[in-house]
Amino acid sequence: MNIQIRERPQSAASTGIKTAIADGDIHPARATRDELYPFLAKRWHSHLESFGAHAHQGMMEGPPYPKAQPNAARRDAYPPEGGPQGSSLSFMQKQHLDPNNVVLGVLNPLATGQGLRNHDLAAAICAAVNDWQIEKWTSKDARLKGSVVVANEDGVSAAAEIRKRAGDPNFVQVLLLSRNAEPLGQRRYWPIYEAAQEAGLPVGVHAFGYGGNPITASGWPSYYIEEMVGHSQCQQTVLASLVLEGVFARFPKLKMVMVEAGFGWAPSLAWRLDKVFSKLHAEVPHLERKPSEYIRDHIWWTTQPMEDPESRDHLFQVIEWIGWDKLLFATDYPHWDYDEPSRVLPPGVSDANRQAFYLDNAKKLYGIA
């Protein structure tokens, strides 16, 4: 049924975007399983081969839900030289960075040591992934910037890894995932925020991860589609925890980015927090401001997958609440739910807001001239 006359399906996206853009969410992949070995101590090679790497989830390997496309990625994004989607810099340049005029691309590696049960292994793999980002990506293409991945459940080693990378222009943020052993505001994660604030690095929180908990607040759902929409509720618990535990009161210069979990829910969460806070503030006296104020001042949002309401007025109202200065355009390349730059914003946006949305907000947040 699916014989192809052409050798391999690949295409550059047709694009109507003329101006330079930043992409706040690009996923680099390893071409082979052992691509990290040069950056890992020998001890871990044999450990991985003998015991493997086990995540905080039930007795199974791989992601908890099936994906919509192979490797959750575009079928036209396989590099011509082989390997999974996102594993070739030259093909990423040809298919995405060049035609879409990307001048700043933030790398968010997902298959790292984050979520592994063995914390020493987690720290070693995270450090290796950080070295690998420099070696394979950021040193080869100045448009690309890395994210410092850290052993999320081990605040001490995570903070050490952040301090090691502080001031390194190859990195523009620290990366966490939304599913962790506990909500991200809990104090076991505070060393991460302390080190990130000290290094002047924003902390991104990307959807997914392995925390060992059911992926929705009411248990394990049946379908991948429920996992996809479940990211919003997971991120809401993350954000509420960050605010209510006093993370932003304690680390007033900390900036955080909500990545790939939507933003349409932000106003309603903030309204509800404020309403309840007005009655229960005595329970959380460490908060110096209303929850909504912390959210507006400390949180940035990547756009993909872009909210797509029937009425564009509704989209604009949400963005006005959040602020046009807080959105970071992102494609999620090469993943299957990629947003095409020329197609995400409906008509009716001022030139200044478009410029902020597509480029300036990211350059400012990440300190890129």
Binding site: M1, N2, Q4, S11, S14, R75, Y338, R343
Partner: protein, 137 residues
């Protein structure tokens, strides 16, 4: 509507597809169990090369719990977001009201009756006896 010869029938066996550009427009032609179909190779959703996706069937449900899998091999699924389109009509089955991909008529005609274009004409001459696949555009 001009007619464009794109290949001898032999070159497009059942289960195969051919990508080409006609007047600057990316087109794909499919042979599905001996029937030919042509589509503009651009997804109306976000512009992906739609025809590089797999051909699948259509899962529908008349009642809860009753699933029918029909149109096997006649639904093209976009390689990006998985939008599904009927290869016969271009009709989208994700949101039938909003999206429709442009479908082009494809015929099989006897080789001797071809309209000879600059490139295709030569192909016509070497295989007079065979049938050719023609795209109207």
């Amino acid at each position: 509507m001009a007619r464009h010869v794109i290949a001898p029938v032999d070159e497009l066996p059942p289960g195969s597809r051919k990508f080409l550009e006609i007047d600057g427009r990316p087109i794909a032609v499919f042979n599905v169990k001996g029937e030919f179909f042509g589509l503009l190779n651009r997804c109306p959703h976000q512009g992906a090369a739609l025809c590089e996706g797999p051909l699948i069937g259509l899962a529908t449900s008349s009642d809860p719990g009753e699933i029918e899998y029909t149109k096997l091999g006649e639904i093209i699924r976009c390689p990006w977001h998985g939008w599904e389109f009927d290869i016969r009509t271009g009709q989208s089955y994700c949101d039938p009201r909003r999206f429709r991909v442009r479908a082009y008529p494809v015929n099989v005609e006897p080789g001797t009756h071809l309209v000879k274009g600059p490139y295709v004409a030569e192909t016509v001459r070497v295989a007079v006896e065979s049938d050719y696949v023609v795209v109207e555009l």
